[in-house]
Amino acid sequence: MTRYARSRRLASILDAVGNTPLIRLHGIAPNAPGVEIYLKLEFANPGGSVKDRPALRMVQDAMKDGRLTSDKILIDSTSGNTGVAYSLMGAAMGFRVHLVMPKNVTKARKDITQAFGTELVFSDPMEGSDGAIRLVKKIVAENPDKYFYPDQYSNPSNPLAHYYGTAGEIIDALGDRITHFVTGLGTSGTMMGTTRRLHEHTPRVTCVAVEPAEALHGLEGLKHMGSSIVPPIWDPSTVDEILPVTTEEGWDMSDLLAATQGLHVGHSTGANVAGAVKIAERAQKERGGGCVVTIACDRGDRYFAPLKWERKYVW
């Protein structure tokens, strides 16, 4: 039993993954005064995002069964956060990392991953994440023995990290209070793993997936399933509801979280909280109260784009 979870002594950076704080949001849903809303701060992971969890589990499971050895290069396609997680793990555990990302990922992502010694391959920005998926498959097919390709979109270790980690921690923190879980879909790993565990809980928790309302959207990290390569781990029958959230709702909520809660988060988190507020308002109407949990995927500073006059800076 660890009493001081955040100040505990750890053997390595890998042990710092998970055990993230769960904080109560106040005044964010004035129309749902009887509903508690909690946000799980996944940016407290060492790589700065929720993706440390699946990345660590995919790497550890592959090391256990011999798919990943020190002579292999880990390669995957990523919009960035999984890439940061792989990069820090490669550096800490001693394997090389190559990442395929669309050329228009934020400069911060490119710089952070390269700081760990990772090599980047860029795919066509017009093809988005799907272009990166197609390119990594081509690279691996040409040299299958050279690489360990975890394929986060189809790897069962991805949702398992959330089944054991994220969901276990939420239940430990809230027990039977929790009535709803809400989160956005990227690979869908967070949604699938957490939902499976929360559905086993008694009383059963209602689990809602947030999806961008439109195909062309600005909720970086989230996937509009109807217009994308659908991740093999995504099983829509597992979730109780799919809730569309517009880019504007997500962005406005990110601004509100910064201004009123002291939480500067990315736009996918804004979309998650916007979805959680909608669910809270419904819970207030239908049952007079409730307890809604959602996820802060990462911090907003990861999306700061250099201003025009800063573009030529080098440090």
Binding site: M101, G128, G186, G218, E220, K223, P231
Partner: protein, 89 residues
Amino acid sequence: MITVRIPTPLRTLTGGNDQVDVEGATVREAIEALERKAPGIRDRLLDDKGVRRFVNLYVGDEDVRFLDGLDTKLASGTEISIVPAIAGG
């Protein structure tokens, strides 16, 4: 002639084409011409205030926000790119 590069999520409106050629002296005119060839696409890109704030329109290598927005002038042969956000993972 202006070439507009269409990202994957909007190709349902262009019959699957990844680029559409239009005429126009400004970005605004080019988008109006694009709307005639791909009805519905204007509302995906613009609202009453101009370019929707999450949509990235590039003329050549520069975001139109750093040029003259919808009034950015286009020379024949210029390429406009509608760059999508990055989704998932």
